[in-house]
């Protein structure tokens, strides 16, 4: 049986300031059993992106919110949040960063 988590079946929404890592793409497909593994997979395809999202120890940086199907993982299991095929993951700065 195919390993489902190795199939790029998770939609990841990329915020504007990170699209320089994804060749301008705002929506990409990736894979990972957890949010942390997903970010590692993203790093393999788009080097440098993980350091923007995570601390060195893998925790999501305090000014970054990661949503899985609209729910902020910070109020749950953080980077350990499990993912399944068809999930939509959004990466958004915790502040809007404007004036």
């Amino acid at each position: 049986m195919a390993d489902a988590v190795s199939t790029a079946n998770i939609v990841v929404l990329i915020p504007a300031p990170l699209r320089r890592f994804t060749n301008g793409e705002a929506k990409i497909s990736s894979s990972g059993a957890t949010v942390g593994e997903l970010i590692d997979t993203l790093e393999a395809s788009y080097p440098g992106i993980r350091d923007r999202i995570c601390e060195a120890d893998g925790r999501i940086r305090r000014f970054v919110n990661v949503f899985v199907n609209g729910a902020n993982v910070r109020s749950g299991d953080g980077a350990a949040t499990t993912l399944k095929a068809g999930d939509e993951v959004g990466i958004v700065p915790a502040m809007a960063g404007g004036c």
Partner: protein, 314 residues
């Protein structure tokens, strides 16, 4: 400006400026290298943005662009929207603010308390997405709206040229040597910097931006990757520095713990510029009086990651 009668408007400006003596000692600065902080949270709307908002609104009322039933509209994920909403309530004109969905809960609540209408833009597109959306809305309904345009309206710069700059000059008895401001619309730096350089051409201006386009410093722009505000004038800035999010947060927390001043994250960024400037002066055996702008207070950030979780090494 003439004819200001609204209570909220009368309370804008002439904010406190005080020396950060304990912070300076903590960073081993000599007594003749001084850092001073201008506390813009003292404005009635809670931030430095009250100044440009008032100047923009006053000019529009005088020209008739406002006061004739039009709605003031602008994009603002932050403090400018709050200032517009406050003035809309004070003067009695409707306000619509376009802001990214990721703006904090406190901000959205405060806007609604003032009576403003909110239009949320795509959070993934950030503040530039809000800028694009408001321009689109204004193009679709030009007769309905007065587009305040904080990023392009010259009255933004004028507010600081006529207000912030002269205040700093008077409050330091003309002794200011360096002016430090973080960059958002850039109005504070351009207006204040222009005034101070007329008052004393030797004054050095230091601008601070986020180190990275992906940052958590509310109010600031990473100019190399963002829409550059039309009011920006690079000739006004002598020194460009950058500050990363973690350092801005750590310095903001340090300011609260050491000086008892509860500021927002962009103040931490400004402080990083002030400290770097002070260090450079001290290492060179020079004296200086550095004035940094603290754009706002810390209470609007309680729902964010700034005040919880990671502890700075203090």
């Amino acid at each position: 400006m003439t004819g200001i009668t609204a209570a909220a408007a009368l309370a804008i400006g002439i904010t406190p400026l005080a020396r950060l003596r304990r912070l300076g000692q903590r960073h081993n600065l000599p007594d003749d290298v001084q850092m001073w902080l201008k506390m813009e949270w003292a404005n009635p709307g809670g931030s430095v943005k009250d100044r440009p908002a008032l100047a923009i609104v006053q000019a529009a009322l005088e020209s008739g662009d406002l006061g004739s039933g039009k709605t003031l509209i602008d994009s603002s994920s932050g403090n400018t929207g709050l200032s517009y909403a406050m003035l809309g309530a004070a003067y009695g004109f409707p306000v619509t603010i376009v802001l990214p969905g990721s703006a904090s809960a406190e901000r959205k609540q405060i806007l609604r308390v003032y009576g403003a209408k909110l239009i949320e833009s795509d959070a993934l597109e950030g503040s530039d997405g809000a800028i694009r959306l408001v321009r689109q809305l204004v193009a679709e309904s030009p007769d309905r709206y007065f587009f305040a345009d904080q990023y392009g309206n010259p009255n933004n710069v004028l507010a600081h040229f006529e207000g912030t700059g002269p205040e700093i000059w008077r409050q330091t008895a003309g002794k200011v040597t360096h002016f430090v401001a973080s960059l958002g619309t850039t109005g504070t730096m351009i207006g204040t910097g222009r005034y101070l350089k007329i008052a004393n051409p030797a004054i050095q201006t230091v601008a601070v931006q986020p180190t990275d386009a992906f940052h958590g410093i509310e109010g600031l722009k990473h100019l190399p990757t963002a829409i550059v505000p039309p009011i920006y004038d690079e000739t006004v800035v002598d020194v460009h520095l950058t500050c990363d999010t973690d350092r801005a947060y750590d310095l903001t927390r340090e300011l609260a713990a050491v000086e008892g001043l509860f500021a927002g994250t962009s103040t931490g960024a400004a402080l990083s510029g002030a400290l770097a400037t002070a260090r450079s002066l001290a290492d060179g055996g020079q004296s200086g009086l550095i004035v940094a702008i603290a754009p706002d207070g810390g209470s609007k950030y309680l729902s964010t990651g700034l005040w919880s979780g990671y502890e700075p090494d203090m």
